[in-house]
Point group: C2
Chain length 367, copies 2
DNA sequence: TAATATTGCGCAAACGTTGGCGCTAACACT
DNA sequence: AGTGTTAGCGCCAACGTTTGCGCAATATTA
């Protein structure tokens, strides 16, 4: 047995008042490295090294080590991440900017991003841009101040001008759902073109010739690709593309309602509606109910986004499902790839396949 | 006109290399107070004071002021919130802990909390506890490290033991949806007791005598109060309370499905189901469809949570709506009350009324 | 006994801000 | 010339961590 009594300082605690059982209404006296160090009469360095598991590497004696970690536990010590972040230039935080959390599609993405971040021991700063470009810009500024190490962003605008600074600052970014095809920013999105194409094909295959589109925010990539997929399918069957059948400018329920109302009034020839989001579909449903149109007998409908309830609607709805969980998953993966090896050239975009789920909202017609 | 040329130092910029247009793959050279100060040959204090709008109060000359703020703009300066937080002991951040963001009910709350925080210029650190107490504990630790100034929490556990530290540390907390009646922690929740009571009354009033409950997580306050409301309504009509009719232990869709399946097999006498969440109701719908039971002809159903789609289901569903937006709203309000005046005794809990929305999923029967 | 190796730990600077205190220069007034 | 006032700013310590460097003891070896 080797004797280990070497330095063997008295590690009895000094007479320092205990961590002060927080007098009523006073500031909380967070335990710090210094407090522990003083109490044990060692230096802050030693405490720091023990508590960050560097004891061995720095040859701290087992005596000291256990003394420190015991006292730390007893004092309920938690390192101040602000100080640490300042020193290490690491905040272990990513930002998440989403247009509307109350939309289950985005909520699903957010859910997955939060989980993924957690697995990497990162936290998530959440910003809801409320589909408002100014709020988004504000949010991005805020996240910069806070030195997030990466960003998952679903941009609302049709331009990426406000992202310039961020990419210049070498901040890892992943766009999700909406992206800018011209920019080399990495993104993950659903294959909206193919999805819309398939959906439209289904309608055409069922004999529909006059198909209306309830589109979302114009200029956003999901919307543009969906419109294009729709148009391509029509063209492929040598059907005319009537621009006046493509209506709306928002992914929200209201827009679906209003545009459907107008459509029913002005275009008696429409036999099918393609709604570009779940909320748009719900709005359309409301309008159709008011006008006493039955689905699919009077009019067929098909919608982007599959949601748990879609199968239980009055007429179970045929949908183009987007893999939103996977989108969130892939987004965090891409992001942490960038964070962990910033030198590597960023990947381009990733398109995830959609899935056409056929239910009963499309009727075969013979004109 | 007074002459203002007093100190009138040459405020031409010194010859210092510009903010270094980020060489490829290098760390980003975030602009700091010091950089600006050096360039202009003033002290950091001066820059700090100008940029925090204290120029007047500290008698900084207009010359200097504009010079500083111009250069700051030019350099795209953003103050480092970590340093600031460290110095000021303010992080301008609150934590939000939610069991499951993919549940639209919680997503709605989160949405509102994010908005409210933003209005107070606070950021939100988001944690999804995945209905898992360990993850929740972990999340709370994490938020402490990060020195959030307040917490909106929807706890998953049936005990508040893990919150002890936090309240001891005087951290402002607001519980939302789920709470602990015995503790004096402020909370905001729906009036689940009355809601369930009303729902059950409706069923009873329609002649139902054998009513099953798909309950959520046992021991959580919403569930317990709903069960109690259900039982009180039965008792009030001198109907027996059969414990074997109260089934399940989760708010999820799976549980609704499975328990309904079992119920249909074992209890042929059940004429109505009360689902304690929207997801439970969806699960029940799935089971009922599989077993070819029609709603409301074969069986009546009523559910907690109103969601946009509820009106468009095969049978529009009668629901007990919870004011989730208001819940989020009130939660942030309560939280910021505490943050802004910590001396005041915390408010107790707030119960928001539910709203019974009658649609067509309940049938009048005569036994 | 002297030289060398090893053990165990401390010093102090740095991260970027902020604010109390106080200094200097210019002017005003005796 | 001396004293007082004011404008305009700077010094420096502090917030809580981390880490490169180094130093004093003891242990080992020659």
């Amino acid at each position: 047995m080797k004797k280990i009594a070497v330095g063997n300082k008295r590690l009895r605690q000094k007479q320092v008042p205990p961590p002060a059982a927080s007098r009523r209404g006073q500031a909380k006296p967070h335990t710090t490295l210094k407090r522990i160090a003083d109490q044990l009469d060692v230096s802050m360095s030693t405490v720091s090294r023990v508590l960050s598991g560097q004891a061995r590497r720095h040859r701290i004696s087992t005596q000291t080590e256990t003394a420190v970690s015991n006292l730390a536990r007893q004092f309920n010590f938690v390192p101040n991440q602000l100080a640490r972040g300042l020193r290490l230039k690491k905040t272990l935080t990513i930002g998440l900017v989403i247009p509307d959390l109350s939309n289950p599609f985005f909520a699903g993405i957010a859910h997955q991003v939060a989980l993924g971040a957690r697995q990497h021991d990162y936290s998530v700063l959440l910003c809801d841009s409320h589909e408002n470009i100014d709020l988004e810009v504000q949010a991005l500024g805020l996240l910069r101040h806070r030195h997030v190490e990466g960003l998952v962003l679903c941009p609302v605008g049709t331009s990426a001008a406000h992202l310039e600074d961020l990419v210049q600052a070498q901040l890892p970014i992943v766009l999700v759902d909406r992206y800018f095809p011209d920019l080399s920013l990495p993104y993950v999105a659903a294959d909206n073109l193919t999805g819309a194409h398939e959906g439209t094909e289904l309608l055409i295959g069922n004999g529909h010739r006059c198909i209306a589109c309830l589109q979302g925010v114009r200029g956003t990539s999901p919307n543009e690709f969906r419109v294009r997929g729709y148009q391509q399918a029509l063209a492929r069957h040598r059907l005319p593309v009537d621009a006046s059948l493509i209506v709306g400018d928002s992914f929200g329920e209201q827009s679906g309602y209003i545009e459907t109302k107008l459509l029913l009034r002005n275009r008696k020839d429409v036999t099918a509606i393609f709604a570009f989001s779940n909320l748009l579909a719900l709005g359309a449903l409301r309008a159709l109910a008011e006008e006493h149109r039955r689905i699919p007998d009077d009019i067929s409908i098909i919608a982007f986004d599959d949601q748990p309830y879609a199968a239980y609607l009055a007429t179970p709805m045929t949908t183009v499902a987007q893999p939103f969980s996977e989108m969130g998953d892939v987004a965090v993966k891409l992001l942490f790839d960038q964070i962990q090896s910033p030198e590597r050239e960023p990947t381009g975009g990733i398109l995830l396949p959609t899935n056409l789920i056929i239910r009963r909202s499309v009727k075969k017609i013979t004109c």
